[in-house]
């Protein structure tokens, strides 16, 4: 990784006795689209606000562009933010909103006009320059907030749940636009979201947070294929879990016994309590199912989703598994009756031996 534009060094933030952020280390590279993902209350927004300067860390340092800015007020930081509520000033026209930050920096008036024009063109709002915010749609207001932040040419753009207030269709379109925008201007984006699909779709790298702690930082694919622990596996995509009852260690590897599966050998396993996980699409169904793990289950509900089907499978223990199937296998499942006993199979290497919570 090249020189990090933002580095967060052992940062903790406490509000009274509540620990919002617990000893987090992070580095965000120049030109990167970075997402901070986690359920509400995981500390991601607090972390973002510490980068923006609205909160100061209780411990640790926030470095921006190689300079310690932990105690620098927000108006002196080379970062700008797009707020969840957009916070577009209602008493100013679109143009004035975008010009506001430049005026604050005492940029000469002759320079302000062309820069505002350029910023509005960037977010395709040129024809709305004279409008007041309450004459704009939610999506347009968000573009104003984007233009207003980007016109200042920040080193990092911070986005707090930028898509959460938009309706589903607009959200999908805006995702793509954000990615295009980020690639075209090359500024680092740090986005906070609770929506894993959103993070997977836009980010170059994702940090997963839970209860103030950093669980994993990885590229979207790695996060899905190689989750660091059971929480990440559960939060990113879907997974079926089998808690370990007995673990016999042998060097780095381990033999894991669970309630519902035969004993399985893993060449490597993390410390501590283990749980095994398998993704729904790895589970083979029907007579053609392959792999070392072979069990039987009763067919539950089948949710047909066009090109694929989500299948609920009831284990003899009473627990349900989720499998995703498509093509021939989906057609075979479709022909079975609900309650029919069907064979399942998957490979041990498609399973994850994870640290349990």
């Amino acid at each position: 990784m090249s020189q990090p534009i933002v580095s967060i060094k052992s940062v903790s933030k406490r509000f009274g006795s509540f620990v919002a952020v617990d000893d987090v280390d992070l580095e965000i590279a120049e030109g990167e689209f970075f997402a901070m993902l986690g359920p509400s209350g995981c500390g991601k927004t607090t972390l973002l606000r510490m980068i923006a300067g609205f909160e100061t860390p209780t411990e640790g340092q926030v470095m921006i562009g190689g300079v310690d800015m932990s105690h620098t007020p927000p108006n002196r930081r080379p970062v700008n933010m797009v707020f969840q509520s957009y916070a577009v000033f209602p008493h100013m026209s679109v143009e004035k909103n975008v010009a506001y930050g430049l005026k604050m920096d005492r940029v000469p008036a002759a320079e302000i006009a062309p820069r505002v024009k350029e910023a509005l063109a960037l977010v395709q709002l040129s024809q709305f320059a004279e409008r007041k915010p309450d004459q704009l749609s939610g999506g347009q207001r968000q573009r104003v907030a984007l233009a207003r932040a980007l016109v200042k040419k920040p080193r990092v753009l911070l986005l707090d749940e930028p898509l959460s207030a938009l309706d589903a269709k607009l959200r999908d379109a805006m995702r793509l636009e954000l990615v295009k925008l980020q690639k075209s201007i090359g500024v680092s984006f740090i986005m906070v979201t609770h929506d894993q699909d959103e993070a997977l779709a836009v980010a170059d790298r994702i940090a997963v947070l839970h209860q103030g702690r950093l669980r994993q930082v990885a590229k979207p694919e790695a996060l899905y294929q190689r989750p660091a622990d059971a929480f990440v596996a559960d939060f990113i995509g879907k997974a079926n879990f089998f808690p370990a009852l007995k673990v016999t260690r042998a060097g780095a590897g381990a033999r894991v016994e669970t309630k519902e599966l035969p004993p399985l050998d893993f060449p490597s396993a993390p410390e501590g309590n283990l749980t095994l996980a398998v993704r729904p699409e790895k589970i083979g169904l029907g007579p053609e199912a392959e792999g070392e793990v072979r069990i039987e289950a009763k067919l539950g509900d089948v949710a047909f989703q066009g090109d694929s089907s989500l299948v609920e499978l009831l284990l003899p223990s009473g627990r349900a598994l989720l499998a995703a199937t498509h093509g021939k296998s989906a057609a075979w499942v479709g022909a079975q009756k609900e309650g029919a006993t069907i064979p399942l199979g998957w490979r041990v290497e498609d399973m994850l031996a994870l640290k349990a919570d």
């Binding site: 108006n75 700008n80 933010m81 707020f83 509520s85 000033f89 506001y100 930050g101 604050m104």
Partner: protein
């Protein structure tokens, strides 16, 4: 709600007592006053409504017009100081920690539960020539005078302490009026700030605005509705102040309400008193009407 309006007996049962109360204790007396204002004294106790405009004409005689002007001036100055003092107080309360807010608001409300007369007498004690303020000033003077004597500048601050006269002056009346009306200004300002999305202020800071520019360019414009409400809610009662100018003005700083009182009592000129009262009411109506028109125009502008 819809069905309530359709059921006449139910509607009458709920609206009836209120309507009756308003009619008997508000509209009828107001109507009588209105009739008086077009009347003349025919004997000591009898008033005949002759539909004369004489009472209204007398309002514009220099003596009364001057008093009216002073009333408006003192009410305006009072309003100005209430806003200037009240705004930061409201801001402090609005930004205080959640658990402190009810207590801070209680402190603002507390004087309301003390009789105005008692509070005004307390002000007499504070503002008198032997009062607390002058006591404090005298102590300061002694300190300065002693210091001056030390460096051989005897009498630099005057031969002896001259107390500041508050009672019987416009200054004293304004201080009293500001004290009485401050809560009226603080509460609407507080509610405007409380409703304001904090992220506007954060956005301003994020965009490079310091505290001062964020205050004047974002906070004040976005709470302007609260400022207007606070101004009106302070100005109107200040315009009708009676007790404060009566006690703190010592009869030398009369406002219009003092004149009205005199008409109904000492002067026994009820028709003129009625005309003055109604004129004050009309002024109030005009202020409220202007506000309503401005509001409507703003709403229209937003929709266009």
């Amino acid at each position: 709600m819809e069905s309530w309006r359709r059921s006449l007996p139910a509607f009458a049962a709920f609206a009836g007592p209120t309507t009756l109360w308003l009619l008997v204790f508000f509209l009828i007396p107001l109507g009588i006053i209105w009739m008086y204002s077009f009347g003349e004294n025919v004997s000591l106790t009898e008033i005949e409504t002759t539909w004369t405009f004489e009472n209204y004409r007398r309002i514009f005689e220099p003596e009364i017009a001057t008093l009216f002007w002073r009333t408006v001036k003192l009410a305006a100055i009072t309003t100005f100081f209430c806003l200037v003092i009240g705004y930061p107080v409201a801001l402090v309360i609005a930004t205080a920690e959640q658990k402190w807010k009810p207590w801070l608001l209680l402190l603002i409300m507390l004087p309301f539960w003390t009789n105005l007369l008692i509070r005004t007498y307390a002000m007499l004690n504070i503002l008198g020539t032997q009062g607390r303020v002058n006591g404090l000033l005298e102590w300061g003077w002694q300190f300065l005078d002693g210091g001056a004597a030390l460096v051989g500048l005897d009498g630099l601050f005057g031969e002896r302490f001259v107390p500041v006269r508050f009672l019987g002056t416009e200054l004293g009346v304004v201080i009293g009026l500001v004290y009485v009306h401050l809560p009226f200004a603080i509460l609407p300002l507080y509610s405007a700030m409380e409703r304001l999305d904090r992220s506007y202020l954060e956005a301003s800071m994020d965009l490079g605005g310091g505290q001062i520019r964020t205050f004047f360019l974002i906070l004040v414009p976005l709470t302007s509705a609260g400022l207007v409400t606070a101004a009106i809610i302070t100005f109107i009662p200040a315009l009708g102040s009676f007790l404060t100018p009566d006690l703190l003005g010592r009869g030398q700083v009369d406002m219009i309400a003092n004149v009205i009182e005199r008409q109904f009592k000492k002067a026994n000129d009820w028709p003129f008193g009625s005309a003055l009262s109604l004129f004050l009411l009309y002024v109030t109506f005009i202020i409220l009407a202007i506000r309503a028109i401005v509001d409507m125009q703003n709403a229209k502008g937003r929709r266009a």
